[in-house]
Symmetry: C2
Subunit: 238 residues, 2 copies
């Protein structure tokens, strides 16, 4: 039987782990919402909404800071092993990915303000499609993390190729659009970076899938992930 | 007096920490070299050299994987505290930043292949200048990390604004160049992403500066870092 003191320590340790889990869960919700609202601001050409997304970025930064502090405290005071150690390491990495996802969403919101200064651009339709795909992958990977579902984590990871393929095709579409109407060069340049941001969000969702898999199974996915992005050499003669 | 067994454990622990430090130091050297060679490939329009940079990216990925494994092993078996815990956490984060730096350099090398298909672009000169600045910051931050020099880490962090300002100005220069000669749109689009990659390398150098400061002093730099990049809203009417 534990003494009252030991029981208190154990309870407090569990509480600390729970607070870490809750912080990741909250960050996941915030990142999803920031991505959703940033895409809605693009679709509806809404400057006010875009401004709100930019202003909300600080909340998730504060959460990541909390996770970092809490992680160091847990490691120093509790010396976790096995499952608990994996939880702490995975939390640290997943928090960094979620912060980056929100950062990319906020950056897209900022660039929306430039897009809204000119007439609508046709390739925005493809960007919205890419946004929907990545929103779906982010929702799935967060569910895999929260429900400890290794199979779903692997499924998300496998679908990053779809994002990369869509990004490559959008990159070509934007290039063609600019060439046909050079007056759209400024807006289209921002659109290119917005597409890249969404592609990066897909990469971060893949990172979270890999960390979730490690967290659940204790195995790391060391093999190279499949890549479908060919945009880096677009314009290269065969 | 420690027994032979205890002495063996202590020695092995120190060796594990040293191997972690050596891996970071090696990764730092590789990242610096990849950045240097990628910029040289741009300057000399050397496809072969660019190809070598792309091919060398796997080595630093393997090093990061080693650091991740070694970190989890150290935390699980040694339960480090205080300075040692900070070393382990900082190593994990710095390894991730160095891997990203090498990744951005390899991406620039890939895009160099596209640039070399067309006539030289004037804004490349500004890109080279930005590259030299970031190479200098990376060398300084690695020295700050290796020599435990908190003041130098802070100095590197303060100079990220110079990178951001140069990036904003280069972004405008590339936009203007494309508008004046729409035939350069494809090459200039790659040049924009190359500039962004170098700006991101500057951000990672800043992250390493902040982690080094945390490692040396035990204090985290929680306040917002200064930002000098205005390119996100370039083209926005005042």
């Amino acid at each position: 039987m534990p003494t009252v003191g030991e029981h208190h320590i154990v309870k407090s340790y569990d509480e600390q782990l729970k607070r870490l889990h809750d912080a990741i869960s909250r960050m996941g919700g915030l990142a999803e919402r920031q991505l959703e609202l940033s895409m809605k601001a693009v679709e509806t050409r809404d400057d006010t909404l875009a401004g709100e997304v930019v202003a909300s970025d600080a909340a998730i930064d504060a959460d990541e800071h909390f996770v970092n502090e809490q992680t160091v405290r847990l490691l120093a005071l509790r010396a976790p092993v096995a499952d608990d150690l994996r939880t702490v390491i995975a939390s640290l990495k997943i928090a960094a990915d979620l912060e980056r996802i929100a950062d990319h969403a906020a950056n897209n919101a900022k660039r929306t303000l430039v897009l809204n200064q000119t007439a609508p651009l046709a390739p925005v339709r493809t960007l919205l499609r890419m946004g929907r795909l990545v929103q779906e992958l982010l929702a799935q990977v967060l569910a895999a993390y929260l429900q400890h579902d290794a199979a779903q984590a692997l499924a998300v990871r496998a679908r990053d190729q779809e994002v990369d393929a869509l990004y490559s095709s959008l990159f070509r579409e934007i290039l063609t659009y600019m060439m046909e109407d050079p007056r759209t060069i400024t807006a289209c340049s921002h659109l290119m970076f917005m597409a890249k941001n969404i592609e990066r969000i897909g990469d971060h969702a893949t990172n979270i899938a890999e960390m979730s898999y490690f967290l659940i199974t204790g195995q790391s996915l060391a093999d190279q992930r499949p890549k479908g992005d060919r945009s880096n050499t677009e314009g290269l003669a065969p």
